[in-house]
Subunit: 298 residues, 2 copies
């Protein structure tokens, strides 16, 4: 900690949704002296934050909101990042760091990151692995970030001490940080986040097939269906964006899913019960390996 | 209740695993006066039940275990039902009812049910929609059944008052009951239980693909991956049996999954973000419809 630069004194959260609102609440809780500002397009979520005493510094004018900020956190849908970043340029301090909370990283660096870097500004990507199937500031909570891993992507050459300062910021909110390349990030989240979302949706779609009476499905669906499909109720526009923005990695992963599904069908066609068992065991092993570090706290 | 026959005074649970053990515990809790017997192939789970005061009437001899029982509950893997039912024939009382807790029903009626009916005995299928990714009597608990739906299948013409008595038994353990044909049961559970299991396993398999560094997956996997894949750690031999015993309905559902997956890939290939959004919205609607009755208590 001795070499680390001081905590940010002025932070602007751009977009008070579930994640942006949660970041604002966590900043208020863990960094009480910080000048916390929140920009939103609509007044209502801003009023929500003011009424709960999270901050009185809320803005619908982006340039006013970012003026003097040391850290700007883009928390809107990813598709808005670049135009918002352009809009804030005239007011953005030279030494401000811009980061985000987007679920894909190569796309963000290729667009927003490249644009900011070209104009002499600094951008490092962040992705807090936190969320839920709910949306909106009314579901935000400081706890959402507690214990979450934040992937940090810094391919545009922002100095290491700035990256360390950003990591320390997330850590002060209760997160752990993990530095990655944008490409490795996107390939990994395709597998552990985006494909689970697609498969959850697929499971819900398949339930509705074959004209099985709805009452039967309603009566028989239990915890397995509940958990396997839970995430598919997340906001469809946001998830459509995520899949589209990470389409290369997602399509590769979907193609693996297709061949795994063909494997199961072949095993059933061949009545190969031993093969089916091995396929299920390998899946369970894979899950246990991936969740190894986490089993203790969930 | 006035017309209903009295509760069973003597019940034999055949197979003290997770579900059989839980049934035994629930009987002990809710029917304290009942002569509860448990048969097991191995001594260890029987000792477990004796030591916890669930029952002292445990047996490794099946014929002794079922002698005088009014209700016999098959709780072993489905593949063992028929041979166990044959083995108990000489000792089975004429007015005894045999039921089971198996996850597929047409197969069970076609084999075990048909054999018992042919010999003048009575069989009604039961399927408590309860379970977890754990196994064994050491994970059994009376609570597992509390609030669970039990599907009841009675295609072999057992009189309605016997079916009502069985339903009352399950209800006295805290379950709700739901009468169905075996075929409708199997088609519905393929959709809300067996396919979720396959997709959970598929999700875990796909995570291991494309040589994504394991450390990246371990660090980034969060609650979405946890919940979508949870059930795939269930006992592989049991699940291989279930998929195989319900293979017609499962293969139909898998073929629906294949075409849904092709739909997603096509939407991504066409960069059809609006179509992707609609596909995700339909999935969320489907899930909400199916879980409508349950949202209040989970």
């Amino acid at each position: 900690m001795c070499e680390q630069r001081a905590a940010y004194r002025c932070i602007t959260v751009v977009g008070p949704g579930l994640l942006g609102g949660s970041v604002a609440m966590a900043v208020r809780q863990h960094m009480p002296g910080c000048d916390l500002r929140v920009w939103g397009r609509r007044e209502q979520p801003l009023a929500y934050l003011r009424e709960r005493g999270i901050t009185q510094h809320t803005y619908t004018d982006l340039q006013v909101a970012v003026q003097g900020a040391e850290l700007v956190i883009l928390s809107t849908p990813i598709g808005c990042f670049e135009s918002l970043a352009r809009e804030m340029l005239p007011a953005l301090a030279d030494d401000a760091l811009v980061t985000d909370v987007g679920s894909v990283k190569a796309y963000v660096h290729r667009t927003t990151g490249a644009m900011l870097t070209q104009r002499g500004h600094r951008f490092i990507g962040s992705h807090p692995m936190a969320g839920s199937e709910t949306t909106g500031v009314e579901n935000a909570t400081a706890d959402l970030l507690c214990g979450a891993t934040v992937a940090i992507t810094n391919p545009d050459g922002v100095p290491a001490e700035e990256e360390a300062r950003l990591a320390a910021f997330w850590q002060s909110l209760g997160c752990t940080t993990y530095a990655m390349t944008p490409e490795n990030h996107d390939r990994a989240v395709a597998r552990v986040s985006h494909i689970p979302h697609v498969l959850a949706a697929l499971c819900a779609h398949a339930a509705a097939g074959d004209n099985v009476p709805q009452a039967d499905l309603q009566r028989l669906a239990a915890s397995g269906f509940r958990d396997t499909t839970r995430v598919c109720c997340g906001p469809a526009p946001m998830w459509a964006d995520i899949l589209w923005e990470n389409d290369v990695a997602v399509r590769r992963a979907l193609s693996d899913c297709m061949s795994q599904m063909q494997t199961v069908i072949d095993l059933l066609n061949k009545q190969d019960k031993a093969g089916l068992r091995r396929w299920l065991e390998t899946a369970a092993d894979s899950r246990r390996t991936i969740r190894r570090e986490q089993e203790t706290n969930t």
